[in-house]
Each structure stands twice: as structure tokens, then as C-alpha cells.
Amino acid sequence: MNAIEIKGLTKNFKEKQALCGLDMTVPVGAIYGFIGENGSGKSTTEKIICGLIQKSSGSVKLFGKEHTDPDIRARLGVLIEAPGCFSNMSVWNNMMLQAANLDIHNAEQEVVKVLKLVRMEGAAGNKYKNCSLGMKQRIGIAMALLGNPTLLVLDEPINGLDADGMRIMREVLINIAKSGTTVVISSHILGELEKIATHYGIIRNGKMIKEMTAAELNADCRTYVALQTKDLSRTKAILSCKYSRVEEDEAGYIRVFDTVTPEEIVSYLYENGIVIKEIGTAKIGLEEYYIDLMEGK
């Protein structure tokens, strides 16, 4: 059984079609990285899953039941955009209100537990409006974790987090996924997503263009030869004469994406009088894979 199964989902906002027949499958226990450009339909899809907006057509099933089923809704943990907190209330009171909405009986212990999970127990007495952006995101995650949800839907949860905050978030999400909770997480910080996601879905213009597991992504990611020389522009020009895809990256390395070994390149450049400082093979990451996919490479 899948945690989420979406088929032919469409959503129209007046004349604009935000989703055009989106299909999406999220297995139980997965950390599903939901990737796409701004305006591609990620938030719209998540809002439909969470019941905040109505779908125009298609089917959305959560754990085999309709997404509107109240039994299922009671098991959702959600952070869409920013947490819905009252700015003049303390973090604690906001958490307690959500605990009451969820009908959690041992509310105080639960709130303490989730605040500790996101290392926010020290800020419980702070007014929400006085919290930093990173703190608010962590509060939002804590709120989503209230009541041990079976499905967690997080929209850009790591935005505004510092390095430590991201590490904490990573640990939290990996741990809760281990306990069987399914996590759908959308983010533009692909490097972070790559560290935790077990499955990926790439959306573009309201359509799912690719769904894959982390292992499939790894297999799909192309290998390239990266090298550094004293004269990068000349090296690039020489390599471009022989190889079809030669690029220079921001770190000052030349990458050759053709099927070629480092030995072949060393030999070719030696013939052309270029001395190599450093050479090796590497694989492109999620970010580059995504960019390549978007650019149709």
C-alpha cells in the first residue's frame, strides 16, 4: 500500500491551470523529496493532499482511502509555507492550542516531547512574534509532529534554517521516517534534500516529469572527469575540440561529461602541451541532475 497515490490530478485557478494530470506515488515510510521550480505546482499539490484546497479532477488517496476521510486527516502532520500561529501568544500556548485541536490527551508531555525533538524547549515561553525565522520553522515542524502523525507533509521546512538547524532537521526527519512515518518534503535546497530523501518526484508545469528512488537517481547521475590546469580557458578550448560536453564549474574545475577515462584525457592534454594539476572522476548531484533534466540535457 502507498501512503499517497495521486492519479490525473488537476487544479484550475480561474483561467490558470496549476496542475495538469499529475500522478504521484509515495510509498509508506519514504522520505519523498518533492522538487520543482517556483510555480510548478508543488504547494498546490500539497495543499490538495492536506485538504486546504479543492481539486478540480483526479483522485487523491492517502493510505488507500480518500484524502478527505476524517480518519486519515487525524493522522496528518503539516507545515505549509509558515506555521499558523498567533503572533501575540507564546510558543507554548500556540503548541497547546494545536494539541487541543488534535484532541491530544497528554498534551503537555507531547508538546514538551516535540519541542525537545526540534531543540526548541528553551524558547517555549517566548512570544511567537519574537522568534527568528529559523525558530519559527522549527516550531512549525514541532507542531506538525504533534500527535505522532503517520504522514508528514512539509513545504519548504528548511528555509531560513542555519547549518545547525538543518542538521537537527535532518536528524529529526530521518528518525521519524525510521519509525514508519512517511514524509513528503518540498525544498529548493536540493543539497540538503539529497542527504535525507529515499524517493524523489520532479514536477514541472503541473506535471510529474520523473519519479524515482534514491538508488535510481544515483544510477542515473552521470559520471564526469573533473580536472584542473594552470590555463583553464586554453584547456577548455582544446578539450572542446575533441569532446562534445566540456564545462567549467564555479570551483575552477573543467568537467568532461563524455564517456572517457582520466587516462585518455591526461594523454590527450599532454600531447597538446598542457600540464594537469589535479584530475579525477565524480558524479553529478541531485542539483545538477535536476538542472540537466530541466534543461533537457
Binding site: L52, Q54, L76, F86, N101
Partner: protein, 274 residues
């Protein structure tokens, strides 16, 4: 993996939880106490300044009322307003209540709380009922502070306090009962205009003034048919009230609450929440 089994709370458990949250918010927001204060000050000001001497001319204005309790309700149900005295009584509480409910619900949307709420097991019907009950409670409380303000100021004016106590009590209780119907109307208006806070407030104010019924009465006369409307029944709860008045107010309030709750639930269920 085996099929997962979930258990969601019952209607009463859900409503209890939501009412707990809304009442907590109500009692912890200064706005509620400010509106209680306004409800007390307005009748006190009207009665207190009545008959004051003009410092420039030395003339004393004709008193608005001949009896303290006219600030609570008119002697007879007068749907047509001839002067400000016919209008300035406890029904003003329903205007304050409308503005307060607009701010209260508007805050749900502004803060994103509805988004947090509707992604749980909460149902649209629970939300509307909870806001209606909390709004009705607020207006009933305002009726009490209005009464206290009126009685306090009335003692200083020296005008007549003679009244048929049972009629007065029935009138006040009837108006408090009408709070429920008014709260459901305001909740409904706020559901319709949920994305436009300003329009919500203006619409609540507009309907709260009862201008439509006053207009209808001006055209069609002082007919008791108008009692089927919220403003009509609110006016019907006057100083000559009896048990029939109480029943009319109860039926009108409950029926309109049902209508607005069903209509509001349908709208909220068919539209995007956030």
C-alpha cells in the same frame, strides 16, 4: 504492509476541543475586554450626557428618554426609526459583536491558523459552530456589560426607573438569545468574505445596523412579519415583552443559526480554505 487503522474523534470531542481553543483565545485577547468596555460605556455615555446643559447657550437639551430602561429596549416593537432614541438601545451590542467576530475570524486567516486547523480532523461545520457559539457568548456578555453600564449611569440621571420587571428580564434574555442568530450571520459573512477582511467588517456592520429591516418597515409599515428576521426579532424583544416574545426570539435565532451554519458549511466545503 497491513492496512493501517485510524480512529478519529467524535463530533462532540472535536467540538469540545475547538470550543476550548476558541474560548481560550477569546479570554486571552484584549479585544474581548475592550468590546465589553465599549458595550458598557456607550449606554452610560448616552444616559450620562442626556439633558446636559449647553455651556454656550445655557439651554438644556430635551432628554432622549423618559425612562432609564428605554436605553435597553423601546416600549413597543418599533421597526421604523423616527429618531435616534428609537434606535439607540441594546441592539447596538449586535453591531459591536459583528465587528468583534470579524476581527476574531479575520485573525484566524491572517495568522494562518485555519490552515493549521483544517489540516487536522477538524470539519468545516465544527469550525462554523465553534465561532458561532463563541461569538454568541461574547455578545451575551456584552449585553450584560451594556446593562450594567446603563443601570450605573441611569442612577445618576434621576429619570424614572419604573418598569415591569418580568418584561424587562424577558427582553434582556430574548436579546441574549438573539446573540446566537446574529453570531451565525456574522460567521457566515466572514466565511463568504474570508479573503477580504475589510469587506467582512463592513458587511457585518451593514447587516448589524438592521438597515434593511428599517428600510423594509419604512416601506411596508410596522408589520410583525418582520419578526422572522434577526433584526425584527431583536426589536420585538421590547419592554412589553412576554413569554411569546421569548419563544419568537428563540425560534428565530435557532432557525437562522441552522440556516447560516448549513450554508456556511456548504460554502466552506466547496471552496478553497486557504
Amino acid at each position: 504492509m497491513n492496512e493501517l487503522n485510524f480512529k478519529s474523534p467524535t463530533f462532540f470531542e472535536r467540538l469540545k476541543g475547538m470550543l476550548g481553543v476558541d474560548f481560550y483565545r477569546l479570554f486571552h485577547t484584549p479585544m474581548f475586554y475592550i468590546f465589553l468596555g465599549i458595550a458598557a460605556i456607550i449606554p452610560a455615555m448616552i444616559l450620562g450626557t442626556m439633558g446636559m446643559e449647553n455651556p454656550q447657550t445655557g439651554a438644556t437639551a430635551a432628554p432622549l428618554y423618559t425612562n432609564v430602561w428605554h436605553i435597553i429596549a423601546a416600549e413597543m416593537p418599533l421597526y421604523v426609526v423616527k429618531n435616534i432614541a428609537d434606535y439607540a438601545h441594546m441592539n447596538m451590542v449586535f453591531i459591536f459583536g459583528g465587528i468583534m467576530i470579524s476581527i476574531f475570524i479575520g485573525h484566524d486567516y491572517k495568522s494562518g491558523y485555519v490552515k493549521q486547523l483544517f489540516t487536522t480532523h477538524a470539519k468545516k461545520q465544527d469550525y462554523i459552530l465553534s465561532k458561532t457559539i463563541v461569538g454568541a457568548f461574547s455578545m451575551a456578555c456584552m449585553c450584560v456589560t451594556y446593562l450594567l453600564g446603563a443601570v450605573g449611569a441611569g442612577l445618576f440621571t434621576g429619570i424614572s426607573i419604573k418598569i415591569n420587571v418580568s418584561s424587562l428580564v424577558i427582553a434582556i434574555i430574548s436579546k441574549m438569545i438573539m446573540s446566537l442568530g446574529w453570531a451565525s450571520l456574522y460567521t457566515f459573512l466572514n466565511i463568504i468574505f474570508r479573503r477580504y477582511f475589510g469587506v467582512s467588517i463592513v458587511s457585518c456592520f451593514f447587516f448589524g445596523t438592521g438597515i434593511l429591516i428599517i428600510g423594509a418597515a419604512a416601506i411596508f409599515g410596522n408589520s410583525s412579519v418582520l419578526n422572522i428576521f434577526l433584526y425584527g426579532s431583536s426589536v420585538y424583544a421590547c419592554l412589553s415583552s412576554n413569554i411569546i416574545t421569548l419563544l419568537v426570539c428563540l425560534v428565530c435565532s435557532v432557525v437562522w443559526t441552522l440556516i447560516y451554519t448549513i450554508a456556511g458549511t456548504r460554502i466552506l466545503s466547496k471552496c478553497d480554505v486557504y
